[in-house]
Amino acid sequence: MIRVFVPRDSGALSVGAETVARAIAAEAAVRNQAITMVRNGSRGLYWLEPLVEVETPAGRVAYGPLTVDAVPALFEAGFLTGNKHALGLGPTEEIPYLKKQERLTFARVGITDPVSVADYEAHAGYRGLRQALTMPGAAIIDTVITSGLRGRGGAAFPTGIKWKTVLGTTEQQRYVVCNADEGDSGTFSDRMIMEGDPFVLIEGMTIAGIAVGATQGYIYLRSEYPHARQVLEEALAAAYRGGYLGGSVLGSGKRFDLEVRVGAGAYICGEETAMLESLEGKRGMVRFKPPLPAIAGLFGKPTIINNVISLASVPIILDRGGEFYRDYGMGRSRGTLPIQLAGNLKRGGLVERAFGVTLRELLYDYGGGSRSGRPLRAVQVGGPLGAYLPESQFDTPIDYEAFAGLFAMLGHGGIVAFDDTVDMARQARFAMEFCAIESCGKCTPCRLGSTRGVEVIDRIVAGRDRNGNVQLVRDLCDTMLNGSLCALGGLTPYPVLSALNHFPEDFGLPAGALAAAGR
């Protein structure tokens, strides 16, 4: 039977994939044409969503962006056999945006049925776990260390080292917690994995549990992602039914249980210790460190906390070996990064590439330049706490150290592009405002400094004692940078200072004021 793929990814749904799916089913019924519809994840070519694929003897063929109105004509043109149509995109894998990617973590996203274990296994799924079950925990961890994998949630800490700390504790009860709070604006790779290939996350967490002897895992999912929750719940149920989770994982005699916990709309709960508090049923207040969560985490027990992408990269590392993964990338940034192109770009979407690709390639070769047709003026990389980079820095490679060297950060790999209508003073003000709204309130520089920051930027924009107030913003930023307990207060100065330094004219200062002000 002909297989037709219509994504259930929430991005695709947001532009009508559900009505398109219904229209295709209805049209097929009217024509007495038997089809099997697979609700896959998204290929990540969002400007083409809803992107529908048909399986033909010559491979999968894509059509998009589809509308309900186009469906009858598509049938008429013979799209079920891959025939030409104005919305035809040709063989999916040949679309340049996709063809030029290096999809390791995202190998199956958009290809498989996200909630079918059989499909997952047919596409190299659960090979990493099977391999891990033949190895001692320390050897699993050594493989992860060899791969060079660093945390994809923002701080880029080596994943294997974290696991080793947990393994080295004496406590019997340990936990694995997946940080699926994905609060950073401009990011959606975690969501795509959870909606498009949830088993790869489940497998990664199971491997982590087996490696350190943890029997319970939690996925802390933000409440803004109800679709991800639905897919995860379906996948978890299937994994339990198939014996991939529970009392004896794949018959190994080793237990691993996993459940989803939903957050409640607080950006700070993406910070790992605030997340633990939230999981324990408390307000999301950041904890003092030490102790590290790896020593005393959830309910005071040793806990692995990793981002979705970090954990979802583990199965392929165990399957293909640490060296295989490490051979991608540059410098100390090993492997691949699923980069998210967002904001004012013609072709927003997901691009997984080895580290080393430049911002410029991403913005123009993949992103196609601005959606508005105007020149790009600034990009914010790494979420709301990431720096704004001007055009002169677009040749920076995607590399943790290269970004750190610019007083910027890669974070979770989100890139938000702005055209030349952007007002950078407004962006700086927003950064302070966001910090004020989301501050957990534990430390003064963050709680009060951010509110103060909004007022002072307002005064600069209004032209009141500009030089004095610019100095005041810089002082505030210094205090926040040095006196905050966590990175919310500690990194909000990044977007603020980068806006001020690279775009002084937007603050009513002479262009080139950067040189005088330092940094």
Binding site: S10, P226, A266, A342, L350
Partner: protein, 160 residues
Amino acid sequence: MPTDSPPVISDAVARAIEAHRERPGALLPILHQIQDSLGYVPPSSVPGIAEALNLSRAEVHGVISFYHDFRETPAGRHVVKICRAESCQAVGAEQLVEHACRTLGVEFHGTTVDGAITLEPVYCLGNCALSPALQVGDAVYGRMTPKGFDRLAADLRKGR
């Protein structure tokens, strides 16, 4: 359970407590279930939750007020959450917000006079490749325009 709350409320609260009280970290799951069934977390539910989980009322209330999701008063029939984070800003979220506020006659956190729509801000829906984005219940909308917003608001008012 407090005896002064209407029976539907106390039933929903009791069910939520029973469903989750034995789980570690039960408070958020309980609050979510209450809000899912009633649309808000009534202050009258606090003493019962506190007692069941062996917490003080202040602790329970502290948690409810900490998280943006939990409401202590009922919302309109539909809650429309407009993303005001950076990716959406880059393609017109601010204009969309202004348009929504003007045409609905409310500010953020406000409810239209007919009780149909409550407007809330949200900071990223993970739909940044299709900004501007908004969310109504579980449904996400991408590439939203002022015109599209008017159509959506009209549909919501008709109860669709």
